[in-house]
Each structure stands twice: as structure tokens, then as C-alpha cells.
């Protein structure tokens, strides 16, 4: 039985801000009178993560993912509830606790912009009291894995975004943390850089057996890295379970793409039954077909239309997310219909 490394119970975080009316008058008004509003960024959040797990934390912008990460790392103090990370209360900011965690933020940098990354690593070596031989070994291993050994002595401001993110990862992992919090580590990167980062995280996790929490907007990150997914909407946990279960949320439907040798008429009744999405030339269509009808529908289309190519795939996770973002009640309904233990087994 693996031990729990992250435990939260009824965790809550409130933020207070004020509404400012637009324009100069609004600015002057706000000097004297302010309309304060309190928003719960995280509500009643329960979580139990075991040692060695790699978890994806998903949700739209403003859902509370980053706030959660900041509470987990002790940067932000929770308003209510219990939070234990490796047995420590993060907000107490115990020095040993801070030595055991790492945080990577895709949109912020901990490296000094005007010096080479290696100089920042040397500073981190002092902060985390890493022995010289260990330090050199880790730098060598990680720089080889990330293919950045020739960039260590280049000023950070001269590096590309992808190269910089690799350096950020190295900076965060240099002290071999037990828990790694990755907040959108691939944001803004091109597809190849995204894949490189993912592969590195995957390999690092396999080698070091550490616990990793990833938030991302890219479903590919979550699909490639995580087996377990936690979905957060408007500060509330709406799903917590295996990724495979999440993908079946919207039913047993297949996504099928047909390519035709000539433009087709998209107004036919046949297409409207399967939520057809046409390309601009009307020679490619994406259909959502129930699994039990897949064979017959596909055969008919191949027989009646000039099909040159077709392929099927599971419901892409992007589409699942888009649908859930538009209709968050779907998960709630499913939780209600199937019982919290089926979909929300860890609640």
C-alpha cells in the first residue's frame, strides 16, 4: 500500500478584488469607493494522491488549477480546510518541506534572465545544499536527456522558449524533489518541443518514482503522461478517476473521418444525424457515429459515395473537454446517475 503524499479535505481559497468601472470617472470613483467582491477560487476540494502517481489536473482558464498548485507549494495560504503534503502543512513553510518539492510554471521563470542557466543552477546548488559530485551528475544526466548540454553557458535571454523551458525543468529538478508540480509546462511551445518535454517528464518519472502533478491546457500532455485525471470547474472538483473512464464520459461514440474524391452535398439528411463537420472544400467530413451503428453506416457511405480514405478514433479528449466546458452539468449528471464511486471513486 503506497502512502498518501498529498491530502486535502474541504480545501478552500477565497480572493477579494474590486470591480472598477471603465474610464477616467471610474478610476476617480474607485479612489474613494470600491465595490469589493469575494470569489471562491477553490471550493470544498478533497484530494488524495499516493506516492509515485502522476496526475493530470485539468480545467478551463480560471478554474482554480494554479491556485491549487500554489496552495500545495505553500505560496498561497488556504482560507479553509486541511492540506497535508508529505505530512507537512505547506503554509507553515517548513524548510525541509521546501527542499522536497519543486514547482515549474510555464508562464513564469525562476532562472535569471541576464546570466547563463548554469549560473542559476550553481545558486540552486547552494540553496539545496547539493554535493558537488551529485550536482555534476544530475546536470550531466538531465542536460543529455534534454539535449541542452551546449546551451548551459548561454545567457537565458538568448534561448528559445523551448530551450528555456528545458532549463526551467532542470532548475526545478536539480535537488531531486519528491513531489513535482508542473503548471502548464508546455504552454506556448511548438509540437516538437512539447513532445520533448513530455518524453523527458515521463522518463524522469520512471527513473525517479517521484509524484508529479501536471496542469495543462494541452490534452496531449495529459494523455501522454497521466493515468489519473482530476477535473476542476469553477473551483470545484468534478471528476477524479482514470483517464480511460474520462474518455468515455460522453458515451460510446466513434469519431470517423471520411475523405472523398469530389465535393459532396452537405445538406443531405444522412449527415445531420451524425453531427457532421465539413471542411471548406466539402471533400472531408468528421462524423460522430454510435459504436453499434458504425459498421452499417460506414458500409453505406463507402458504397454510396466516392470515398478515398477513412479512419476512426476514440472521442478526442479535446472534444470531451470542449463539450464539458460548454456543459459542465454533464459530469454532475453522470456523477448523479452512476453514483460518485464509479466516476468519482476517489472523492
Amino acid at each position: 500500500m503506497k502512502k498518501t503524499v498529498i491530502y486535502s479535505q474541504k480545501l478552500e481559497k477565497k480572493f477579494t478584488s474590486y470591480k472598477k468601472e471603465p474610464g477616467l470617472l471610474g478610476s476617480l470613483k474607485s479612489l474613494f469607493v470600491r465595490n469589493y467582491i469575494t470569489k471562491k477560487a477553490v471550493k470544498d476540494f478533497n484530494l488524495d494522491i499516493k506516492q509515485g502517481e502522476i496526475i493530470g489536473l485539468l480545467g478551463p482558464n480560471g478554474a482554480g488549477k494554479t491556485t491549487l498548485m500554489k496552495m500545495f507549494t505553500g505560496i498561497v495560504v488556504p482560507s479553509e480546510g486541511t492540506l497535508k503534503i508529505l505530512g507537512y502543512t505547506p503554509s507553515e513553510r517548513d524548510r525541509l518541506f521546501r527542499k522536497k518539492i519543486a514547482l515549474v510554471m510555464g508562464q513564469k521563470s525562476q532562472l535569471w534572465w541576464d546570466i547563463p542557466a548554469m549560473d542559476s543552477f550553481l545558486l540552486l546548488q547552494r540553496f539545496y545544499e547539493i554535493e558537488e559530485s551529485q550536482f555534476q551528475k544530475r546536470i550531466k544526466t538531465m542536460s543529455e536527456l534534454l539535449d541542452v548540454d551546449d546551451l548551459l553557458h548561454i545567457h537565458v535571454r538568448k534561448l528559445s522558449l523551448g530551450e528555456r523551458m528545458k532549463m526551467e525543468l532542470m532548475a526545478s529538478l536539480i535537488h531531486s524533489p519528491e513531489i513535482i508540480f508542473l503548471d502548464e509546462p508546455t504552454i506556448g511551445l511548438d509540437l516538437i518541443s512539447q513532445e520533448n518535454i513530455r518524453n523527458f517528464i515521463k522518463e524522469y518519472h520512471q527513473k525517479n518514482k517521484c509524484t508529479i502533478i501536471v496542469t495543462s491546457h494541452y490534452m496531449a500532455d495529459v494523455q501522454a503522461l497521466c493515468e489519473r485525471l482530476v477535473l476542476i470547474f469553477d473551483g470545484e472538483k468534478t471528476f477524479d478517476g482514470p483517464l480511460s473512464k474520462f474518455e468515455t464520459i460522453l458515451g460510446k461514440e466513434k469519431n470517423v473521418t471520411f475523405n472523398f474524391s469530389s465535393p459532396q452535398d452537405p445538406t443531405l439528411d444522412l449527415w445531420s444525424s451524425f453531427e457532421a463537420q465539413w471542411d471548406s472544400h466539402k471533400i472531408q467530413v468528421d462524423l460522430r457515429i454510435p459504436e453499434d451503428k458504425l459498421r452499417s453506416v460506414a458500409l453505406n457511405i463507402i458504397k454510396d459515395f466516392p470515398v478515398t480514405e477513412f479512419n476512426t478514433e476514440k472521442m478526442p479528449i479535446e472534444r470531451v473537454m470542449k463539450t464539458l466546458m460548454k456543459n459542465p452539468q454533464i459530469v454532475k449528471q453522470l456523477n448523479g446517475n452512476n453514483g460518485p464511486h464509479e466516476l468519482n471513486g476517489r472523492n
Binding site: F15, T66, G74, I75, L96, R98, K108, W112
Partner: protein, 267 residues
Amino acid sequence: MKNLKQTIFYYLKVYEKFVSTSISVGVSFRTSFTLLLLMDLFFYFSTLLSVNFIYDHIQMIGPWDKNHLLFFISFMLGIDHLHMTLVSESFWELSHSIRTGDLDFALIKPANSVFSVFFRYFRPSTIINIFVVWTFIIYYGIQVKLEPLSWVLLPFLMFLGFFLFVVIEFNIAASMFWLKEGLGINFLRMQLQQLARWPNFIYASIARKFLTVCLPILLVGSGPIHFLYDYGKWPLILSMVAASIVFLFILKFVWRSALRHYNSASS
């Protein structure tokens, strides 16, 4: 005792890297490096020349003649030099890092956050001027005929004055966590520095009492210099030590409360 030694050693080792990384950054912008160095020199000379000019027209200010006051001014320039070299830049960075959320990374480092926040930026261009500042101090120290013991005590008293002033400033700067915008707070700090740069006897009774007892910035320079001129004024040094301890104690609570208030910027 062993723990304390280890802790001091740890912070010195981290600080060594703060210094070396700051030097790396500082020297990579050569024009800015040279300008800062020249501007500091300009400030030192203009301050001393202003006092010199005043004494061309009068004989005494309070109980002090020209050399006494110039030694005081040189002593304050020494404290200012330490301040500019060791902590000044961090105050300006703090409000920016609170607003942008860059502070997050400083807070998760396994070191005291006051240290990580206020000692992170070392200004290498200013350190070079140490020879100029100490030339003034030594020259005017000879003019006022400092006793041998005073020469020995001088660096320690300067450090004590610097320490008291920055502890007061740390408390003031912590308010940036609530106010977010630090420009006003930084100007307040600078005004307090201005007030401390003049001897306590030039202030009216109420202002002097307030700035000696409640917000003891007048002790920073006037305390040590009065003591060096007259050892009978040792209670001033005792007051400085007591004030440092009190403000350090207050800082402990203010800082903890400030960190609890920190919300970090959205990403």
C-alpha cells in the same frame, strides 16, 4: 551552537552566489555599470560640497563645527553605501515581484524568505566606491581627532546603524504585500533616509522625539557619532541595540502576516 554555525555557513554560501550572479548581471551591461558608479560618486561629492558651502557662511550648526558635521555626513554616506550595495535594489524589485507573482519562486526556496527577498540583489558597481567613501570617513575622522578606540568601534557602529535602518525598512516594505504598488512605500523609505542623513539636533523637539523613540531613524547616524564624540552618550548605542531587537521582533510577525496575505498574481 553547532546548528547556528551551520546556519550562518549556509547563508554565507548562498550569499556568495547572490553576489557572484549579481556581478555577472551587473558587468554584462557596461554602460549602466559605469553610469551607476559615476552617479554614486556624484551623490557623495554633491552631499559633502553642500555642507561645505553652508559652512562658508556660518561657523557652527548646533554644537558641531564644519569637520564634525562632515564626519557625520561621511559616516552616513558609509551607511548609504552599504545600503545601496546590499539591499537597495531588492526594495524596488519587491513590489514588482509581488504584482507579477515572480515572488513565488523566492518563497519556495529552502531559506528564510526575508533573506531571499531582501538580499537577492547585490549592486557590484557601488562596491567599487568603497574606497572613496572610506577615504572621506578616514579624512574627516582625522580632522575631528577620533580616539584609537573610536577607530576600532567605527566599523561596528556603522554596521549597527545600517542594521537598525534596514530592519525598520523591512517592516515598512512588508506593507507592499497589502498595497501591491510599492512606489509610494519606496518614496517613504527614501524620505526617511533623507531625514536620517542630518544630525538629530536640527529637528524640533516633537519631531526629534518621534524619530528617536517611535521610528528611531535618527539613531542610525546620530547615535554612533554622538557616542564617538563623547563616550558618555553610550545610552544611545544601547537604544540602537534595543530598537534593532524590537523592530526585528516586530518584523517576525509583520512578515509572517504579509506572507499569509500574499495571493500571488494569476498566471
